[in-house]
């Protein structure tokens, strides 16, 4: 099978969906002629003209306008915020309008928006351009949350997101844009709410998202050499969350480690851990462990950055500790 990077996979998804439905609109800061600061929308403006447009630097207006377009039923907006951190600027529009407009108006309108949000620690971007704010939105009803870890997942999930008639927050880890993976030529979709077992194992369940899926897989290789078999589960969507697959793995291994780049307190792992203990406490042989980034703002210093990102060593150590129970 051919191998492409995640940026190309996302661009293919955008291209195919714009081709498929001519009401699909792509807009945001520098997404037009410039192709987006991460080059995910490169070439779309040349191909689709006014269906791809640059907007002023105005995140609340970008998201609000997407809502106003979507509820007419005449457009399928796929806006981009340059950094996922900027969700903070547009918080009300995302949390209260995108998520709740349909419900609070009695279910009379649809909200086919896919808001793309590049996230993650990358390149010394500092405290307001490096965060992973996805868990904030797990608390907000009406929002579906996607966080892919591979080019294959990214493409299939983005296509599903764009076709969906409900609001989607699509988080893309910036360090994954250049990461390559197998992606078939032929079309496919990946449903929401279906976790993927990236590696099977019988001793410890490691639940990881985005870049951390890869760190967990590296740790699993190392641990396997010492005879510990780790199962790596990638939820792929945090809302809806596939607890069935997670619980089935937990019941098999009895040991759970949750790893994400989100800061630990109130991260998505907190919710996942809470749901596991509600359903499977007596299947556990050990306490549920979590690794997240420290609960302090992300320093600009690129040297310090590595101390925020969960490492292979941390995962190996945590798994070994779990195996002591």
């Amino acid at each position: 099978m051919r191998t492409i990077n995640m940026r190309t996979a996302l661009l293919e998804a955008l291209n195919e969906e714009m081709e498929r439905d001519e009401t699909t609109l792509v807009f945001g800061e520098d997404v037009g002629k410039f192709g987006g600061i991460n080059k995910v929308t490169e070439g779309l403006y040349e191909k689709y003209g006014n269906r791809v447009f640059d907007t002023p630097i105005a995140e609340p207006t970008i998201v609000a306008a997407a809502v106003g377009m979507a509820i007419t039923g005449n457009a399928r907006p796929v806006p981009e915020l340059q950094f996922g951190d900027f969700a903070g600027i547009a918080f009300d529009e995302i949390f209260n309008k995108m998520g709740k407009w349909r419900f609070m108006h009695g279910g009379q309108m649809e909200m086919p928006i896919t808001l793309r949000l590049p996230v993650g620690i990358a390149g010394g971007a500092g405290p307001e351009h490096s965060q992973s704010p996805q868990a904030l939105f797990m608390h907000g009803p009406g929002l579906q949350i996607v966080i892919p870890s591979t080019p294959y997942d990214a493409k299939g999930l983005l296509k599903t997101a764009i076709r969906d008639n409900n609001a989607v927050l699509f988080f893309e880890h910036k360090l994954l844009y250049d990461m390559k993976g197998e992606v078939p030529e032929e079309e496919y979709l990946i449903p929401f709410g279906k976790a993927d077992i990236k590696r099977e194992g019988s001793d410890v369940t490691v639940i990881a998202t985005a870049l951390q899926v890869h760190t967990a897989l590296e740790a699993a290789e190392e641990l396997a050499a010492d005879g510990t078999e780790v199962e790596v589960v990638d939820p792929r969507t945090l809302a809806p969350l596939d607890m069935e697959t997670i619980l089935s793995s937990v019941r098999k291994t009895g040991r759970v480690l949750i790893v994400h780049e989100e800061s630990k307190t109130g991260g998505s792992g907190a919710e996942i851990a809470a749901q596991i203990q509600e359903e499977a406490l007596f299947d556990l042989a050990a306490p549920i462990r979590r690794i997240g980034s420290p609960d302090v703002p992300i320093a600009q210093n690129i040297y310090l950055e590595q101390f925020y990102r969960p490492s292979k060593e941390q995962i190996v150590q945590a798994v070994n500790e779990l195996m002591e129970y």
Binding site: T23, L25, N50, R51, T55, P56, A58, P60, T61, V63, A64, A65, A66, V67, G68, M69, A70, I71, T72, N74, A75, P77, D92, E93, N96, K97, W101, R102, F103, M104, H105, G106, G107, Q108, M109, E110, M111, P141, G142, N165, N166
Partner: protein
């Protein structure tokens, strides 16, 4: 800076049907409001209510006989005025207030905000004041993109005009030349703060539109015909593809911001002047009688018909059941 919209209006330039439609709409808005306040006093309606009494001409004039069902409106925090003018059934609006399944939200309940009627271009409203300024331009963008001649009218008060979103919205509207009409219902007070205490403007809020290259004017919002003419020009401009218009409509509320507001921050003499000399309905009646458009009895008959219509709407809304508890789990996703 923004100019005062001036035009000599003559009743004889309008058909009697149109004039009586303006009258009926204004009376409907006022009586709707009075009955809603009664229902609140009877303890049947919870939440906040922002009475639109005193500003009926603004909504009737800018919607009736100029906007079509397919044109969109985003109403403001005195938005029952606009919903009624746009034709949302009264029983459905009362149903939202009463929380019965007759409401547009099928029992979820809504105050002024959150009722919607997409079949009449009423796409809802946010609880957070002024958010419609951003959402409305997306709707206007969608119409332009689709190539229809639909216009979007965004209503907002002087208070909402201080939201940051106004500027993001005006920038898009001007930049993309959108078919959108801003109607700033300037009743001078954002709860207790006078517009002069909260807005940095040369003279009028509409002055801001100049900076964005947007056509604008200041109009007497209590003159239903003047309001109609100003809006009609804006609608025609939008349909010609000449972009947005900002209309600042001057009015005053007869009651406080919310029911229970002591409204003691307004000078009593000033309020009396607005009520007695600038009431949109009273002044329109005087003109119609003077020009012999209608007899007193004819208008009285309309009043009675409207009263009856409202009582029937309330009866329909009240007799509908409260929703089942399971209603809260319906409709989050399509």
């Amino acid at each position: 800076m923004a100019e005062i919209y001036k035009k000599e209006t003559q009743l004889k330039d309008y058909s009697k049907d149109v004039l009586l439609d303006f009258y009926r709409t204004m009376v409907k808005i006022r009586k709707f409001d009075e009955h809603l306040i009664r229902l609140m006093q009877e303890g049947k309606v919870s939440g906040f209510y922002h009475s639109g009494i005193g500003s009926e001409g603004l909504s009737a004039g800018s919607i009736r006989n100029v906007l079509r069902d397919e044109d969109y409106i985003y109403y403001n925090h005195r938005g029952c005025n606009q919903k009624i003018a746009k034709g949302v059934p009264l029983s459905k609006i009362y149903g939202d207030f009463l929380g019965t399944t007759e409401g547009t939200t099928r029992g979820l309940g809504a105050g002024i905000v959150h009722s919607a009627d997409p079949s009449r271009g009423v796409l809802g409203q946010a609880g957070t004041i002024g958010s419609q300024l951003g959402i409305g331009i997306g709707t206007a963008y969608a119409s332009k993109f689709k190539g229809t001649d639909q216009v979007t009218v965004i209503y907002f008060g002087d208070g909402a005009a201080s939201r940051e979103m106004l500027h993001g919205s005006l920038n898009w509207a001007g930049l993309y030349n959108l078919p959108v009409i801003y109607i700033c219902e300037n009743n001078e007070y954002a709860i207790s703060c006078h517009v002069s205490e909260t807005h940095a403007v040369k003279e009028h809020i509409a002055d801001w539109a100049y900076g964005y290259g947007i056509s604008n004017c200041v109009v007497d919002g209590n003159d239903v015909l003047l309001m109609h003419e100003a809006t009609k020009e804006a609608v025609e401009r939008a349909k010609r593809g000449e972009g947005p218009t900002f209309i600042e409509a001057q009015t005053f509320r007869h009651r406080g911001h919310f029911e229970g507001d002591p409204y003691d921050y307004v000078d009593g003499e000033l309020l009396k002047d607005w009520k007695e000399n600038k009431d949109p309905i009273r002044n329109f009646v005087s003109r119609m009688l003077l020009d012999k458009i209608a007899e007193k009895q004819e208008l009285k008959t309309i009043d009675q018909e409207v009263e009856q219509e409202i009582l029937e709407a309330i009866e329909k809304a009240e007799s509908a059941p409260q929703p089942e508890a399971g209603r809260i789990y319906e409709g989050l996703f399509a």
